[in-house]
Amino acid sequence: MKNGPTTRGAGGARGPLRFGEDPLLWAAWLYYEDGMTQGDIATQMGISRASVNAYLADARERGIVSIEIDPDRFRALSIAQTLQEHFDLMDCLVIPSDGRGKPLIDRLGDAGAQVLARTAQSGDTIAITWGRTMLSLADSIRTSGLQDLRVVQATGGTTAKIPWTPEACATTLSDALGARCIPISAPAIVSSPEMRELLLREPVIAEQMGVLSEANRIILGISSLRPESTIHTSGFFDAVDMQDYGNAAVGSIAGRLISASGEAVAGPLEPRTIGIDLDSLRTIPCRIGVAGGMDKVQAILAALRGKLVNVMVTDADTARAVLASEGRDIGAPKRTNKAGSALPERLRVKKFLNRPQDAVNEAIAGAVLAHEGLLSPIDGAPRALKAAIGPRPGKVGLVIGGGSGHEPGFLGYVGPGLADAVAIGNIFAAPPPDPILAATLAADGGAGVLHIFGNFSGDVMNFEMAADLAAAKGIPVRSIITTDDIASAPVETRAARRGVAGNVFVFKIAGAACDRMLPLDRCAELANRATQRCYTMGIALEPGTSLETRRPSFRIGPDEMEVGVGVHGERGIASDRLVSADAATDLIVDRILTEMAPAEGDRVALLVNSLGSTPQLELYIINRRLRQRLRARGVTVHRTLIGHYYTSLDMAGVSITAMLLDDELAALLDHPCQSPAWRVV
């Protein structure tokens, strides 16, 4: 016998010595480690099968055995259960959101096909709507061996310019199921209500609509009305102004618009639509909705609230977002906290402040005094400063600016070889047009003015308004909007990215170009090249403190960090497990190198920047790892800035910026400059 000699004792066999007198441990070992059946275990232990069963249950209860389900799947299961309970669904399937490369629509199609295959019965009449997910479902369903099935189009037809028409979805599904296919031989939207009445009286169409009314199962997609939605390419809503619907519609099912509560939204299309209406839809006993994606959250929520769907197939992220919108927060799986209890949280943070509302003005006053030879005030514009040397005739003026809280940004970069003037906003708020205009006038040397600011809606609006005002006064302005934060949007939508610490390099390149008396277009072109070649990413360990409330603006868990943070004390793109300095550096470097794709021998400039309260010691540790990685990639470092260059008040964290250099950028970087925050001699 595999487990060695056994001796019979009272109530059963005696187990090997290593199990001591603990029959639970023995039974658990045989079951989970040796993979024996409960029957075999009963024989070996000399007890009844019922006892084995009881032992195993006991072993789990006492923690001798702990069962772990793959966290991704576990999360999906628990979300599905919550979704089902919350919306009173018949059933619910939630698939993991990470498909390891396979598109969500295809995976949703697979999952929907599984659900349909499992629930469909012989004799069913199954209606199907249209769309990418529906076609993917129809494509991937396997024959079920059922008999006397009918598949019917839920709506009339649409333009044939798309591959996922109602006709295509219905015929593909009926072919796969071996069902009879019943089309609706009319357009989904007709030109007038009269035409609709006329068509519905046609015997062929009336018969088809009759079959549709007999549907006992419907499989439907849920469409958002967001601009990127495929509904706008379907021809369904062509030439209809959404204003007619008073913006009440948040989604669409079977070509019918639905409100946030899942009710029909009355509008000009309603009496011209041929297909199932929402009231009839609700009478179908089994209504399987298959949809996912963050753009659809609002529409899916509406469909669930309105009971238009009673079996839901979606993915974990979408489901969680739907539940979050209902105030049900299903967090990420709980991680075991090896450190034990949480660190005490700072509820009130001590600050050197007088009245919080005076902080910005008082800081400006102090800065002007500290850097007397470099900065001077601008008359009549308390929130703008200029370089003490003033504009040089024939030189392009450089104006920078943004909210306060980034010190030494932005006034730290004013001086010879850098900016000529700066506009200063409230904490993390863009400056209004007036100080930007004052800075522009102060910087004007008759050769035009260059504005450089980060890509935030407030900065863009206010700088644009100021540029218009300056143009009206005869000063040509070129604007460079920086977008170096690679974590803030994917590379395909680079223009949507935030402008963060990379600004420091862009200011330097532009300042040097202006100082070399290059013309405005050339200065703009170089500044643009600099921002295109800057790659920044940040990680935060602790949130920043609001000056008004003196409380942290959000919470980061004791063993968590925020990845992809910007510079306004906001959360990152994602929360991640806290890791070592080297691992955190690698996280950033991996992203930067992937996107920069430097060749061996390429040169970069580096900025290892504290977001506020991370000390120099930690920055050096990070820099050490950063350089190891760059050396391994064969990338050389032309110049390193390390310290507080572009902060987010007192946030603890770091950002790394790498700028890929060419000879021209390297020369401009080495050009002399003198400012409160940066000096090159």
């Binding site: 009305l225 967001r226 601009p227 008073g246 913006n247 009440a248 948040v250 946030a260 963050m294 753009d295 959250v297 609002q298 929520l301 992220d317 977002a321 739907v322 979050a324 919108s325 105030g327 927060d329 509302q357 909210g403 906003g425 409230n426 904490i427 993390f428 708020a429 863009a430 400056p431 209004p432 047009p433 007036d434 935030f456 809606s457 407030g458 609006m461 206010n462 308004m465 934060d485 803030s488 949007a489 949507a496 935030r498 609001s546 008004e548 409330t549 603006s553 959000f554 910007g566 306004h568 004390g569 906001e570 959360r571 793109i573 994602a574």
Partner: protein
């Protein structure tokens, strides 16, 4: 009638409301933005009310008042909120033309103008999870009320209600504009602070109309 003095009084009420909502708005903004919306709205509307009050003699037309308020908001707030509300009030100024007073029944037109001004400046669309998600449904109700010749208090009350519902609906939206847009899916489940403050403004407007008409809001 709605007079130039009424405009000052209305903005005082709005400023008071924004002061009262300051902490709540800051908290909402802390979740998905940079926590500055509470201060911005409170300080900005206080400055607008002050400018309206001080400029009453020099700027007697309603449009002048709107321009004063717009400039005060713009230069006090900056950020995103400043230009958006400045544009909104400049649209309202255009609507009011040379008038020194208008019938109270025309107040819903101001709501429509504000909504259009916000949309024109921000280039946003409903569903982007912005203040427009409160203003646009309110404007729709205001337009319908004007067309139907509905009682002004009734229209303003319904507009405020539509704005509140619109703001609540931003929970299910993923931000497509503004700073929260970088949070992507993480913005879901949270109220948009700009929509929340817009709903509060409309609620105060409806209550002001009720007080003016000597009735209470149902």
């Amino acid at each position: 009638m709605f007079t130039r003095n009424d405009l000052t009084l209305l903005f005082r009420v709005l400023a008071e409301r924004m002061g009262a909502e300051q902490d709540y708005l800051a908290e909402l903004d802390g979740e998905i933005g940079d926590a500055d919306h509470g201060v911005a709205m409170s300080v900005g509307f206080a400055a607008a009310a002050k400018a309206l009050s001080e400029g009453e003699a020099d700027a007697p037309r309603l449009a002048d008042g709107m321009v004063l308020a717009a400039r005060a908001l713009l230069n006090e707030i900056g950020a995103t909120t400043g230009p958006l509300y400045a544009s909104a009030l400049l649209h309202a100024a255009k609507l009011l033309g040379q008038e020194t007073e208008i019938p109270l029944a025309r107040l819903p037109e101001v709501v429509v103008a504000i909504s259009e001004g916000v949309a024109a400046r921000g280039l946003g669309k409903p569903g982007d999870k912005t203040m427009l998600d409160a203003w646009a449904p309110a404007a729709h109700v205001a337009r319908a009320g004007l067309m139907a010749g509905q009682d002004v208090l009734d229209t303003m009350t319904k507009a405020a209600q539509a704005a509140a519902e619109g703001a609540e609906a931003t929970r299910a939206m993923m931000a497509a504009k503004g700073r929260a847009a970088r949070l992507g899916p993480r913005s879901l489940g949270h109220l948009d602070p700009g929509a929340a403050s817009a709903a509060a403004l409309l609620d105060s407007m409806a209550q002001w109309v009720a007080a003016k008409a000597g009735r209470s809001v149902q």
